[in-house]
Symmetry: C2
Subunit: 140 residues, 2 copies
């Protein structure tokens, strides 16, 4: 990896920066940024809500960061903290009606923004990229 243009680390952070920036711009119409959005998506896709610890693990963030993200989502009435029936220490983060609706609209906007950056890749190449990125991540 002599050249910077061949450095996977550099390319990853550059690509990530570019994509995150434009997805953030697309999400701003919905009052979201990528981090809040990814929490919302996880919660919406869960059956009966998720404990914050699990959200943190899935997103690779520290649990203390989830607190603030959920605070913001709760303030916007997109999710709420429900008591966990099994463990009184734990909250289950559950999406509200408004949360589900916002997620759908936000996801549509995010997809458009993302697709703009993937338009030079075929569907097969995009799948390959996803597979390769997953294997880099799983390695952690």
């Amino acid at each position: 990896m002599a050249e910077l243009a061949d450095d996977v680390g550099f390319l990853l952070s550059r690509a990530s920066g570019i994509v995150v920036r434009s997805v953030n711009a697309a999400l701003s119409d919905h009052g979201l940024r990528v981090r809040q959005y990814s929490v919302l998506v996880l919660v919406c896709d869960s059956e009966s809500g998720l404990p914050q610890r699990e959200i943190a693990a899935t997103l690779g963030l520290d649990p203390s960061q989830i607190v603030l993200l959920v605070d913001e989502l709760e303030r916007a009435d997109l999710v709420r903290r429900a008591p966990s029936p099994a463990d009184r220490r734990s909250h289950l983060v559950v999406a509200t009606e408004r949360g589900h609706a916002t997620r759908a609209a936000a996801q549509a906007a995010a997809t458009v923004a993302l697709d703009g950056h993937l338009r030079r890749l075929t569907a097969t190449e995009t799948s390959t990229l996803i597979d390769l990125l997953r294997r880099v991540i799983d390695d952690e």
Copy 2:
């Protein structure tokens, strides 16, 4: 892209975060972080130094950010600002002897850290990843 695990944006930022974190840890022995390091690499690989504007464009950063990065590298005696013969507004950032030596050692450390995350990918797959990332970036 229903699932978060299939979202290229999420995967990119997650992979980038993981790799940057461990490359930063590897570079810390050399008093560098990835952003300073990437400036150093660019400067070392240039024939006769680079104007800051060009560094900014290549790295996708704002010129005002380059000022601080070059300040730090200069303070560590890894680069120096030389007057540009052609344009008195512009400085050419040039690597010092110490800069070249540090770059070599830092690059070796960064490569080890990076390879740790790529070990599940074949050489061909790594090349494919590089190609795909470049095409996502070029699209900007």
